[in-house]
Amino acid sequence: MLEGWLGPFVLASLRAATPLIFCALSVVLAERAGVVHIGVEGVMLSGALAGLLGVVYFGDAYLGILLSVLVGMVTGLLLAFITVYLPADQIVTGIVFNLFSLGMTSFVFRLAAENNAAVQALIPGMPAVVLGLSPFMVMAIIFTVFLWWFLFRTGPGLKIRSMGEDAHAAHAAGINIIFTRMIVLTAAAVLSALGGAALTIGWVRSFTDNITLGRGFIALAAAYCGRWNPLLAAVACIIFGAGEALAFRAQAAGTGLNPHYYLMIPYVLTLLVVAVAGKGRAPADVGKPYLRR
């Protein structure tokens, strides 16, 4: 039974973790700059649909990813305009945007599926690039390391972090808060959209209404568990992915227990990680609208 189980288990964990990692990175980036990114779920959903439609209509997975990135940029700019430029309340805007995205993606998907049967069918998969890892998994690893290096080892990263801690002090030091936060939130939204594309193009090769099913919110929890550090947030995502993979394997092992006990594993594991991680300190200015004095 256990023979040869490790490889598939690791791959299953990484498959489940990959979309979460992109989204957790987007939350870390946005919140390090002082903007709460509740809209991660909605952007992920939009990116998931855009990616699939891109593959169907342009006939290439990488063009699907490109369309997903474009949708991420547009939604990111929209969110940034509302929450940073105006600025409206970040949490309320994020929640409203998530609801809007749920309705809009379902509507667009239905229109597309009625007009083109290929939208309803499974799209071609992306072959593994190295050691059975899909291009999205490799990208997730690269982005995680890059974001950690960028935030904690470069000057622009320091500026972004300083905005998240005290925007007015950062402004006094010469940083254009509104412009920089808009750019950062747009980049964060691109990462969220890539998380959606990782789900539809890189994993299940299809789209259904609300396909993300709260994965954006799990990514928010992962950013919290990871203390707003990209490396730790990615680890939290992998732990959750491993929990999911373990739940189904425990059920398959056939101990005769009710399956609901096994299906609880990822959530119990997440609760344990949150408990063990203790109280993390968020960047001090997160969620506070920046108004020039």
């Binding site: 598939p8 299953a12 498959r15 489940a16 305009f81 509302i82 430029y85 105006l86 409206a88 809007f100 809009m104 379902s106 509507f107 239905r110 229109l111 599926a113 049967a117 309803q120 069918a121 499974l122 998969g125 789900l199 994993w203 299940v204 090769r205 299809s206 259904t208 209404d209 609300n210 396909i211 099913l213 999911e244 993979a245 189904f248 394997r249 059920q251 398959a252 092992a253 056939g254 101990t255 005769g256 227990l257 009710n258 399956p259 609901h260 299906l263």
Partner: protein, 349 residues
């Protein structure tokens, strides 16, 4: 001041987009109502309200797809007016059914056994409306205006099990379900017995995903079953069905579609589908209603109401043999014992 202007403009744009979207929806529906009929003819039409708990039933799970195909017949063959209430949450089922009845609909159709409570509650309150259950039912509401077309899920399962066992090279088949509900206990017990009637050594893996909609989880459970050796996999779930075909294709297995023909969704993975022939159910409903012979009873759908979809070139050497066994099950030549298993805790046996 400038920001208020921008805020106002943004709100205006969003409202405009929503308005256009709503108009877009309305534009699609209008021609369907016209169809060249005059107003008087429309008044005489039998009006049917169909209730789904899923969105977009024509493209949702197998049972909903099959129902959608069925009630299209009422529209196309009888010219009846069909109104669909979709994505109705369970707490709102009774209210929705009552609303149809109060608005003068002649027939209200429930499309899921999960609607049973609402069916029981509303039917006695509106004696002038027929309330039809097009899913598993073992008792009727206490009134004369309720009727059901109830499939024998065990028999359906035996056909799936037999097809899967004959198609399998490895001798291991997989069955995946969203949540263990009573209808699936019957069906999956049927799968076990149907498979063993073909090959007593067939190993049947049964997994529960824990929900009906998570495509990714369904894909992972399927991949796991292929890792355990399953090469033919069947699923009953909601929107997440395609996740199973994704997993099956990734693991080199074939899938058997539930209730409707799933070939177009996953041409590489779907071997065939065991179809529930819903148009005859709706035709019988229409004929009985028009003749005034509709009465409170449960019509049971047996093997004759289930059929195989085209194999489309897959397993050409086994196709004829599989179809022959299915015919034997349909006409009663092949008897399969009725044994109910504890499939909720089954895993792999």
């Amino acid at each position: 001041m400038r920001k208020r202007f921008w805020l106002g403009l943004a709100l205006l744009l969003i409202t405009g987009m929503l308005f256009v979207a709503v108009l877009g929806c309305g534009g699609d529906e209008e021609p369907a109502g016209e169809n060249g009929d005059n107003g008087q003819a429309q008044e005489e039409k039998v009006r049917v309200g169909v209730i789904y708990s899923v969105a977009d039933p024509a493209r949702a799970g197998g049972w909903d797809r099959a129902q959608f195909v069925g009630h299209q017949l009422l529209e196309e063959e009888y010219g009846w007016e069909i109104s669909i209430a979709e994505a109705v949450d369970f707490p709102k089922l009774a209210e929705t059914a009552a609303e149809f009845a109060e608005n003068g609909y002649d027939i209200v159709v429930f499309t899921s056994s999960g609607h049973t409570d609402a069916w029981m509650e509303v039917a006695p309150q509106y004696p002038d409306t027929w309330f039809v259950m097009m899913s598993v039912a073992d008792t009727l509401p206490e009134c004369d205006n309720a009727v059901a077309w109830s499939p024998d899920m065990y028999v359906y399962g035996t056909m799936v099990g037999a097809v899967a066992a004959m198609a399998s090279e490895s001798g291991t088949i997989g069955a995946i379900g969203g949540v263990p509900i009573p209808a699936l206990t019957l069906m999956y017990s049927g799968i076990v017995e149907g498979a063993r009637a073909i090959n007593p050594d067939t190993k049947v893996l049964i997994s529960w995903v824990g929900d009906w909609d998570d495509v990714a989880k369904h894909s992972e459970v399927t991949r796991l079953q292929t890792e355990q050796g399953a090469d033919v996999i069947f699923v009953v779930t909601g929107n997440a069905t395609k996740g199973v075909y994704d997993g099956a294709e990734a693991g080199g297995a074939l899938g058997i579609g539930y209730a409707a023909d799933w070939y177009d969704d996953a041409p590489n993975a779907v071997l065939t589908s065991v179809i529930v022939d819903t148009p005859p159910m709706y035709k019988e409903l229409a004929e009985l209603y028009l003749a005034g012979n509709l009465k409170a009873e449960i019509h049971t759908l047996t093997a004759a109401n289930f059929s195989l979809a085209d194999f489309r070139g897959k397993l050409p050497d086994k196709e004829a043999e599989i179809k022959e066994v299915v015919t034997q099950i349909q006409n009663g030549e092949k008897e399969i014992p009725r044994v109910i298993h504890d499939v909720e805790k089954w895993s792999n046996q």
